[in-house]
Assembly symmetry: C2
Homo-oligomer: 132 residues x 2
């Protein structure tokens, strides 16, 4: 059986994907893949997602240069969630990596404190300079 | 504005949630919350999810004893994914924690290698002994 057939695709033919940074172990982002995206990710070693808003394959970093090198692909106990271990590339070598389209390290930069969401991670690069 | 109103709930009134273990930084599991589950999680400091199969609130560990103490609640850049930093409780003190209903540490125990999924994490406790 094809390993792609083991994945339980949802009603839209997608599977949720968590990208975790190798090394720091930070959870960088969350996105979706369809079958073709997961196949391309495994074949190329670069993360390819399915953009639900643009309705097309989205090679992470195709515009920003912030590509993800994939070291490991994991599947959960219910076969319906994927976890990637990645190296987030394309940033200044001395800086933390940038996975978020806001120019931050991680997409999970809002922290609940005192009944409010607070941005607790700095913008490392102005998005206007990322998406030229 | 209520912090719960900032969350973009999906068409089913749910938000995907990633649980990451404080300390090890391992991604333990993935589940969903509705508004009530997230409110209870924040109020109680214990992870409460929405079980889509049972269609009811699910206090993680209510049967197994493997409750999750919540240290941090994060929200992503699109306000539609939650990340929890948790301590996974209820296991033998000398052993790794158990988050998965299969008796494993993490739900993400299947690794893609050579075009096949391989279970690469041991069962720490027989599920029949977990769910008595």
């Amino acid at each position: 059986m094809d390993w792609l057939d083991s994945v339980k695709w949802d009603r839209d033919g997608l599977v949720p994907v968590i990208a975790q940074e190798q090394g720091s172990q930070d959870v960088l982002m969350f996105a979706f893949m369809n079958r073709e995206a997961l196949a391309q990710t495994a074949a190329s070693g670069r993360a390819v997602y399915w953009s639900r808003s643009r309705r097309r394959l989205w090679v992470k970093g195709e515009t920003s240069g912030h590509v993800q090198q994939v070291h490991e692909i994991r599947l959960d106990c219910d076969n319906d969630v994927v976890l990637l271990k990645v190296s987030q590339l394309g940033h200044e070598p001395a800086d933390p990596s940038i996975a978020c389209h806001t120019g931050r390290h991680s997409c999970f930069f809002q922290k609940l404190e005192g009944g409010q969401w607070h941005s607790v991670e700095p913008v490392l690069k102005d998005p206007e300079r990322i998406y030229k």
